[in-house]
Structures are given as structure tokens and as C-alpha cells.
Symmetry: C2
Subunit: 364 residues, 2 copies
């Protein structure tokens, strides 16, 4: 099987109320790659757009705006999990020898319909994602004695990390007191436990082992991918409200494919749209045992770019930005956020109450 | 590289004003496969939905409605080319060993936004697909002396074929005179030169060579796939208005991958949303020379299910239905439409003025 590397990446600033539309945002991220990476546009085989936009033919429109004529052009949509799905597709196109070089771009506007889950009638009147986050948090508190302060510490850590990320939406740190005193949105979840929808884009360029060496001295290899869909609706997503079953399943497959285990991972981007989700992720990925009252990351640095809590959440772009961050870390180009000496990294992404998950393991 | 087979398929009736929504239509096609094919639902690795619906998480919703929990679930959108894109993705997921068994479903309602090309400002006031069909037709008439009667003959053939297809939208034959006397929509294209948007769904089940034999005695193998995107807009789609450059490029790649040429193809489904497009397809695929005044199909049977002209055009479902038809033909299960003794078949699909194309070659 052909090996697949990430050879270039770029992320726009994540902002509220960008004047750019979803196509222009996507182009901004891609243009950075096209300008910074040495390859012939004619050799680009695929443009995969991850977005929840309702615009049709949108990957092809972005291709034309960039002067690209790829073989494969398509939009991939699977809510918050879209970006990681698109990266997995690009991996598969290259590994199967359908393509040699594939550009994945995630782009989203804050008002995307991807932020609404109106179809999920199992939620009853509890229409917003924060409602299921509150249910997960309450269950974890009941079963493991997890405290609101422990959740708040996740926000404090990720917001602090985001202060070093020039692309993050939130560039100011917050204190535990600020999180604890922020407005309750859905008990026990407070405003600063929540991420914010925003505008942004991120792109990554994937290449086969035949050509990766021409584009970079420092390719980051995709070692393992796991994906799982348990349901679309919240009510069917999990039998145990203190774990995300799709993420556990995806992690198991990704570890197996990569021949690596959680102990080998040095740096991870995990889906922290709400603080409780980072706690669940640490457990589901095997980074810490369930219910350990003192939650430490051990040797693993988690969400060094600031995660979704610090960076903001442009739905279709998030998964791509996570992959870009881990590629950046593993190639030693993460600037002020650099985790020193990291060799293996992991991306964990979810959609809609954890009803689907993707885990991608990368290494130098 | 692992080989990939089509082991099962099903298509709903294509109708106007179905009472089913896009999810229910998709489920109807998939349920036929689930009921008729012997496999464990747990073993289904992927559900790929091809649709231009603006509904989010739609592949995952269909998965849940069917009681499926696949690893990979995503929607693929690339206008009329979506269905063939999704089949190519499923091929790539299996060939790359990411999946063993993948269900592709195309589903669309007639009022899909996929029928509108409002973003293409290069069309000026000529907003509808029929306008570019008229431009292609006029150019072909000028350069090759093609006549309106020759175009009308395509409609007559495909509508005749559709009378034998119980799922076709149009089950009545038309005469050359009826086509010629039908209302002019955009000179020289008349109403009966045009396909009709409609509601419908189609699904195909793809399996690796490791497991295909357990599900069928008669697998149909995917031998070659070619894809090409020249642009999104009409103005940039082609330099020569008498050919579809994306289709020529896709055909070249598919023939190369399959080690087959046009002379080996016994049966083909080609994109005939307008009659002129079947003439262009015959030429672009190498089935006949450009500008031959007497257009004969030679030994190749084209659009035996009735094509898009006879079956109707549920945008995201069309590419999947084309693949289902060729699989049906090659396994000798095409009933009244059966082309006897066919060994190799081809699917040709386009989007938006031929700005993108997919060609898939299949064989026993």
C-alpha cells in the first residue's frame, strides 16, 4: 500500500464576521499552500472541500477560483466531522493509487446551517448542542465525582494555549474564576465552557510517498485512521453517557492500523467544543483512566493550538485545522505553540453529540 | 491493490411528486439491497450519500434510519456528477483497505437546489442548463452539419428503451415528428430533447475481492475510473464547443486504468440530459468519429435503461442509477432491457455544462 504524507498546510485567522464568503475563505487557506509549496498546479489530482455550506458545486467553484483543474473535485459533508472525513478520503484516494496529490480544504461561515441540528427530534425541546454537553457533564459528575472546576480547568488551559496562536478567535487567557462565574447556559455548562461558531478555513496538502520528498524535507506521515458512526441522533449515540462510543471505536481502529498505542502519542488535538468533551476524549483515547479525580495530561500535550475552545469552531474547517496543527507540531514548525521533541500526534474529532468520530494518527 | 466489485444494486421508481422525502427515498433503495443481499449489517463499513440536498448530516441520518452503524458516513456533493463521484470514493476506500464493504446511495427530490446554477455568472442572463445545451448543439451543427433530426433520434431511441424499464419516469415512446414538433425551449433544443428533473434514488453495494464471492456468484468488477474537472463555470469548461474536454480526459484515464479501449465496450450509460450530449459522449468516448453524419452506435448499446431522457434526472441519484444499470446488464439481470452477451460496460457522467466528468469501466 502506498504511504501518504502531509506535505503542506495553512490556516486562516478564525474570526467573527469576516467579510469573505465561504469560497473566498477556502481560497485564502489554499492560496497560502499554493504560494509556499513547490509543485505544478497541473499535478494536483484532487480538491476536497469540507463544509456544511448549502452552496452547490462548491469544491469545484473553489478549484476554478484558484485556477485548478483537478481530476477529483467534491464536497464532503458530515457536520463537525467533515474535515477529518475529507482528510481520510484524501488518504484513501492516494493509498488506492487513484491520486498522487490531494488538497483538502475546510471552510465555514459562523451562520452555517451545520450549527443547527433541527432534524434531531430525539432532543425534544433541547435543540442546541449545549444541551447534550450538559447531559454528558451531569452524568460524568454523578458517576465519577467530576467537578465543575475540573471542567473549567480545560477552558483555562486551552484559552491559555490560544494566546500563542495568531489564528485563534480568542487570544486572551481566562481564569478559573472567570469560567466558574460566567453565565450558566445549561447547568452545569457555563458560557466559558462552550466554544463559539466563527468564520475560518484551513487546508492541508497530501502526497504519496512517490512525490512527497520533492515538496518537503520533512513529510508527516498518516499512520492510522479510524472512523465510526453510531447514529445521527443524540438518543441513539451512546448507551453510556460518560463515554463517546464512536470515539472509542475509531481510536481502537486507528491504533491498530498505526501499530501504535496511546502511550506513543506526544501531542493531540481533541474535539473540545465543550470542556466536558476534552475529559471524555482523554478517557476514550486511553490517555487517562476513567474517573481519575486529578486530571493530568501525563506526557501528552493536548490542544496546543488552543483547541476549539480557544480557536473557535468554523464547523467544516475544524477537522482540517486540527490535522494542520498536528502536522505543524510534528515537523517542528508550530512556533510559540511548539511541543518539543514530539514524534507521534493524534487528531480526535466528533460530530453531533459524538454520534460519529474520526481519529487520525500521524508521525514523522 | 485490492479488487473491488459491485455485488448488489437497487433503484426506486423515478417519479414526479413522490410523497417520500429525500431520506425516505434513499432508504427505499438501500432497503431493497439490505433485504436481497446476504450480509451482516455490522459488516457494512461505509454509507456514502450522493445528493444535492441542503440537509446536513444526511448520510448519517439515512444510516440511522436503516439501523446501520458504519465506520465511514458522509455526503458527497458535486452536482450531477455526485453519484459517480461517490462510487469512485467507495472504490478508493475499498482498494486502499480502509473498508471492505461500502453502500453508495444517491437520492434527490425534483426541487433540489442542484438544478439551479445561480452561481455561474459567466452565463449572463442564460441561467438554465438548456442554454448551454443549445450553444453546444448550434456549434456542432455549424462545424459538422449535425441536424435537429439526428438529435431527435437520440430522444426517440432512449424513450423507446425506457418503455422497457419499470422504474423510468417516461414509459411512452415518442416519434421523430413528436420531438421535432415539440416546443422550442432554446433554439435548436426542443422540449423532447430535454430530460426532466424528478424524485428518485438508487443504491449500489461495493465489496472487496476478499468478500465479494460470499455475496454473489456473479460479481461485476470495477476495472477503471477516470475523473476530470475543467472548471465550475460554463465559460471556462471547454475551448471547443463541440466536445466535452473533461469527458475526454476522464475516458482516457479510465481506459488506461482498465487496459481496455472503446472497442471493448459492449454497453454504456452516458449522460444524455439533452440529446446533443449523447452525440458528444459517443465522440468523446471514442465510440464514433467526430462529425460522422450517419450516427450509428456500432456494436455498442447505449442507454438501454432509457438514459436520463427516458428515466428522468434526480440529480444526485443519476450517477448511481447509471452504475446500477451497467452492473445489472453485465450480470445478465437487466430483464426486458438486457443486452445479450455483454462483457464490458461503461458509465459516463457529467456535471454543469460538462465542467466535470467521471467515466467508470466495469467488467465481468
Amino acid at each position: 500500500m502506498r504511504k501518504v504524507a502531509i506535505v503542506s498546510w495553512a490556516t486562516t485567522q478564525f474570526v467573527k464576521d469576516s467579510k469573505l464568503n465561504v469560497f473566498e475563505l477556502g481560497c485564502e487557506a489554499c492560496a497560502k499552500i499554493l504560494h509556499s509549496t513547490d509543485f505544478d498546479k497541473q499535478d494536483l489530482d484532487a480538491v476536497l472541500l469540507s463544509s456544511c455550506t448549502t452552496e452547490q458545486y462548491s469544491s469545484t467553484i473553489i478549484s476554478e477560483m484558484l485556477g485548478l483543474s483537478p481530476k477529483v473535485s467534491q464536497r464532503v459533508d458530515n457536520l463537525c466531522n467533515s474535515g477529518t472525513n475529507a482528510v481520510a478520503n484524501a488518504y484513501s484516494l492516494i493509498a488506492s493509487e487513484m491520486c498522487e496529490l490531494a488538497l483538502v480544504v475546510g471552510a465555514e461561515k459562523a451562520d452555517s446551517t451545520g450549527n443547527k441540528l433541527l432534524w434531531d427530534i430525539t432532543r425534544g425541546s433541547f435543540m442546541f448542542p449545549v444541551h447534550w454537553a450538559a447531559i454528558f457533564a451531569k452524568a460524568h459528575m454523578r458517576k465519577y465525582g467530576t467537578t465543575e472546576e475540573q471542567m473549567a480547568m480545560i477552558a483555562v488551559k486551552n484559552r491559555k494555549n490560544a494566546t500563542k496562536n495568531p489564528n485563534a478567535l480568542f487570544r486572551t487567557a481566562v481564569t478559573i474564576e472567570q469560567v466558574m462565574n460566567s453565565r450558566k447556559v445549561a447547568d452545569p455548562v457555563k458560557l466559558l465552557d462552550c466554544s463559539a461558531p466563527c468564520d475560518g478555513a484551513s487546508a492541508v496538502l497530501l502526497a504519496s510517498d512517490r512525490i512527497a520528498g520533492r515538496m518537503t524535507d520533512n513529510p508527516v506521515w498518516i499512520k492510522g485512521i479510524g472512523q465510526k458512526t453510531t447514529s445521527a441522533s443524540f438518543a441513539n449515540s451512546t448507551n453510556d453517557l460518560t463515554t463517546i462510543e464512536s470515539a472509542k471505536s475509531a481510536a481502537r481502529d486507528a491504533y491498530e492500523m498505526s501499530h501504535l498505542g496511546p502511550e506513543s502519542i506526544d501531542v493531540a488535538e481533541v474535539h473540545d467544543a465543550f470542556t466536558i468533551l476534552e475529559i471524555l476524549a482523554m478517557e476514550d483515547l486511553g490517555f487517562q483512566e476513567k474517573g481519575g479525580k486529578i486530571r493530568r495530561n501525563g506526557g501528552i500535550k493536548v490542544n496546543p493550538r488552543g483547541g476549539i475552545l480557544g480557536c473557535g469552531h468554523p464547523v467544516g474547517a475544524t477537522g482540517v485545522a486540527q490535522v494542520a496543527e498536528i502536522a505543524s507540531q510534528l515537523s517542528g514548525k508550530a512556533g510559540g505553540s511548539q511541543v518539543s521533541g514530539c514524534k507521534h500526534g493524534l487528531v480526535h474529532n466528533l460530530a453531533a453529540a459524538g454520534s460519529s468520530a474520526t481519529v487520525i494518527i500521524m508521525g514523522r
